[in-house]
Symmetry: C2
């Protein structure tokens, strides 16, 4: 027997959607670290165990909530595995690797939606700050306190490539082989991460 609430669709599909919606709202408003599975479950009016059942970890729930086709943890593995003085080129290669994959359209769509105002800027900010930057900032925080700015400068260069190469499709940039682009922007990223940023 299924118990349904008035005004709610019954069944697992409705619960799953409510969890994703609640997760998007809370991650966007409060960031990743401050958002608990319990709070998401409460807002979605489900049991916390159901959230774990559907999504596993909070990290996996975030990836599902932002509708990313790949797990940032996997993408960033080669960056994590390398020395600090190679983060720039490794990061460029890792990101361009995903952007050149069959996932490109989905990623560009998320980006367009957020920038265009149809998506949630808070969610994108949480994604960048808490998921992508979080593990890199401490590694490049020299002198102390510069890490966040360094990583945001890197984000600015890579976001701009998303705009010019994939959205505006400016030629010849749009058709430049990815390895040539890594060779060109890698040193830029490396300077932002470990060079002098005033």
């Amino acid at each position: 027997m299924t118990v349904t609430r008035p005004g709610r669709r019954p069944g697992n599909s409705g619960s799953r959607d409510r969890i994703l919606e609640a997760a998007r709202e809370l991650f966007a408003d409060n960031g990743f670290g401050e958002t608990t599975i319990r709070a998401i479950a409460t807002r979605a009016e489900v049991d916390a165990a159901l959230v774990h059942h559907f999504f596993g970890t909070k990290h996996a729930l975030f990836v599902a909530a932002i509708a990313l086709p790949v797990d940032p943890d996997d993408v960033l593995a080669p960056v994590r595995a390398g020395p600090v003085d190679e983060i720039g080129p490794r990061l460029a290669a890792a990101l361009l690797g995903v952007w050149e994959s069959p996932h490109r359209d989905a990623i560009v769509a998320v980006f367009r939606t957020v920038i265009g105002g149809g998506g949630d800027v808070g969610l994108m900010r949480t994604f960048l700050l808490d998921i992508v930057f979080d593990e890199i900032v401490p590694r490049v925080d020299h002198p102390a306190g510069t890490g966040a700015l360094r990583v945001e400068l890197v984000a600015s260069q890579m976001a701009g490539l998303m705009v010019t190469r994939y959205l505006l499709r400016l030629e010849p940039l749009a058709s430049l082989p990815a390895d040539r682009l890594v060779a060109i922007v890698g040193p830029t990223l490396q300077r932002y991460l470990t060079g002098d940023v005033g």
Copy 2:
């Protein structure tokens, strides 16, 4: 006596709007150089003299069509006045100067609309390629054939600052004084323009 066409609003305001609409369509489809005042007048069903009367030059019509609050010619004047080995910092300072001015909201709005899909990517491409890049590319085309890529790399860094500083408002980047930002990204732009890009 005013002669009106069926289905058209009478008077100057209707003509002006039709001219702007025709201009947007033709600039987006055919680029700036290939679009004539005559063709715009024909599409708008007005006399070419009326286009000149309302907007003066084709350049001024383009600026009106894309709803830019400032004339790129004025913004780029300091870049034009300087030597090639200073284009990077001068360009960064010129663009950030406008973006930090009261025109910021209007410029960010145009950018958001185009990127989000509500505006015309073709029009933005025409604006960049034919209006902004056109005078810079020949100056940095060494070795011959590299000029367009160089300028597009510059565009990628500056577009990314638009995204991260003004749209996502990532801190501390969003609050960094403009002159410090020019000191940081200026050398990046200069390397793209006159350094080795493979």
